[in-house]
């Protein structure tokens, strides 16, 4: 089992320059500690216009900063929006290759298409075509990274023959993933040989079904890249505390705050009737889970909060379902004080991580 951090970079109003800077610095401090503690990944979303929910609109810059202050931890786009109005594919290939070089080959490239009208409408993108443009992009990226020259004529973009530079540090190229929120996207991931970057908070039963289907289909995939990246990652909240009750209470506060902010976003399906957005993505589950920021009830199945023993039980369950990596959201709207986030990471590394993997001696020392 691998462990990662997952950043939306949620910032509460009022948005002062100092507050924005403080939250970014807090995130970098957490990443630096996570690197020392032996966490495997740090992922950053690409979101735009989402108010308090996310200020992570330039993830390539944040991830570059992460790479510069760390040595081992792998940095991941979770995800790059593969819609031409958001990102030109040439720029994606160039930026990711540069980050892979700067990080010494530590980059993972998650891909996706955006789920909210807030974002798609903001870029005047057509929701009907995002699945198709994503499909084009993920097929082009590996070729742009690996071929001496590249030319392309597609439905959503084209280019004459040019040499796209630089090339990534990793050979043949960085591992590729796709965000899995809507039902059925795990099949898209499997059929293309992409890692399944789960971004929803579904319970064990639903996740188990998705993972089984993913494992079954990926065996006969036609990979879009030079290799198959068969990995299943899921997202969770983390708050680890010596006292179970304290850990659960803070974890619920974190989860409820995150969920409540998420449900304020306008899912594409809410306002734009389109066969391309049949599902509301992760929002229905979040709405069921979050009746308000002070709600006492919330789905806790599989949530990584509480004391170490409780969290170990949850992680073991995820492991038994076939999850390879759990990525943790550590904060939302800064409801968890930074010193408690740091203490939670240290306790998790000291008490939970050794149960799932043997770590080098210096990692154990860092957790002390």
């Amino acid at each position: 089992m691998k462990f990662g951090l997952f950043y939306e970079i949620s910032i509460p109003r009022p948005w002062t320059p100092e507050k924005e800077r403080t939250v970014y610095n807090n995130c970098l401090e957490q990443v630096k500690l996570a690197d020392e503690l032996g966490f495997d990944h740090v992922w950053a979303v690409e979101h735009h216009f989402l108010e308090e929910y996310s200020h992570c609109s330039a993830p390539e810059l944040f991830l570059t900063a992460c790479a510069m202050v760390t040595k081992r931890i792998q940095v991941g786009h979770g995800i790059v929006v593969c819609v031409p109005e958001f990102n030109h594919p040439i720029k994606i290939a160039e930026r990711t290759a540069t980050l892979d070089l700067l990080s010494g080959g530590r980059l993972h490239v998650g891909t996706g298409r955006s789920a909210t009208w807030t974002e798609l409408g903001g870029f005047r993108a057509n929701p009907d075509t995002t699945k198709k443009s994503w499909d084009e992009f993920v097929r082009c990226l590996p070729k742009m990274w690996t071929q001496e020259t590249f030319s392309y004529q597609g439905e959503f973009w084209s280019m004459p023959e040019r040499t796209i530079l630089p090339k990534p540090y990793q050979k043949p190229h960085p591992p590729m993933w796709v965000a899995v929120t809507s039902p059925g996207t795990e099949i898209d991931a499997a059929d293309r040989g992409l890692g399944s970057l789960g971004l929803s908070f579904a319970g064990f039963e639903e996740q188990e079904k998705k993972i089984k289907e993913y494992r079954r289909r990926i065996k006969s995939c036609e990979p879009v890249g030079a290799f198959v990246n068969e990995q299943v990652a899921t997202t969770n909240f983390l708050f680890c505390h010596e006292d179970e009750k304290t850990g659960v209470e803070m974890g619920k506060k974190l989860g409820n705050t995150f969920n409540y902010l998420a449900t304020q976003l306008i899912s594409t399906r809410e306002v734009y009737s389109s066969p391309s957005y049949q599902s509301l993505g992760l929002l229905p589950a979040l709405r069921r889970a979050a009746t308000g920021p002070d709600a006492s009830e919330q789905q806790t199945e599989g949530m990584a909060y509480g004391d170490p023993a409780r969290i170990i039980r949850a992680v073991k369950k995820w492991e038994s379902l076939g999850v390879d990596c759990i990525n943790f959201i550590l904060n939302a709207n800064e409801v968890v004080p930074q010193e408690q986030v740091m203490a939670s990471l240290k306790l998790f590394a000291r008490e939970v991580m050794p149960v799932f993997a043997k770590k080098p001696a210096d990692v154990a020392a860092a957790a002390e």
Binding site: P12, R13, F49, L50, E51, E52, W117, T118, G121, G122, N259, Y260, L261, T263, Q264, L265, I266, R269, E270, V271, Y272, S273, S274, P275, Q278, L286, R287, A290, T291, G292, P293, D294, A295, N333
Partner: protein, 256 residues
Amino acid sequence: MPLYGTLDLTKSPARLPTLGTLDTEAWALPKAEMMQLLVEVPRTSTDGLLPKAMHPALPSYVIFAVTRYPESPVGPFNLAVLRLGSRAGAHPRGFLLGAVASSEPAAKELRERWGFPVEAGDVKFLRRHDRVMGTVKKDGKTILDGALLDPQPIAGSDVQYINWVTAANAPLDGTTQPILIQVDPKYTLYKADRGKPQVSTFDAAAWNAPGLRLADPIIGTCSTVDTDLPRIRFVMDPLKPVFQGTRRIRESRVDE
């Protein structure tokens, strides 16, 4: 936490509809033809329109709906409504700003049963092959002229309708007071089209929304649908966040 509306409904209760009881009977409304036009609006132009209990949508948008109801307990009528996209806690809702019904009996019942801020007027729903049109006149003046252009068939499952919230004076805990009422119709779709929304005339003040300006069109839909106006199940305190101020006054819809 998210932004809240700024409208204090307790300061002007006289302009709200008044319900004699919250124990409203449901209406079945079969074979309705419903055109919805969704349009983004500048957030600043919605100031003062949304109750303090609710969150504005991000971005702000409005829903124009013009519906032909061929059957109802008060006979056939057309209804035009303007709703402001918003959130009641974690849930998407359309806060009803204004409405016009094509018959006096329909307007009276909608006001007194569900708290619609509705008046009688001239509401036309016209379906052509190249467009669906909705026009509304009040006191001889056109206050809405909207259309769904170039309708193209889509699956009914592609259309989502959000629940409504109305504001009214209603008897609760022994006193008649301003409250928010959730109106959550069911929809069984038979046919749906999608197209570009166009609003060529909009008199914001006539819809109780002075200052509201239209910006980017989002989408228009037109459907044939069995729907209803159900019994009232949830009411909300207009001043408290709805996750604190919501009360269930009736159990499930099984009793209808």
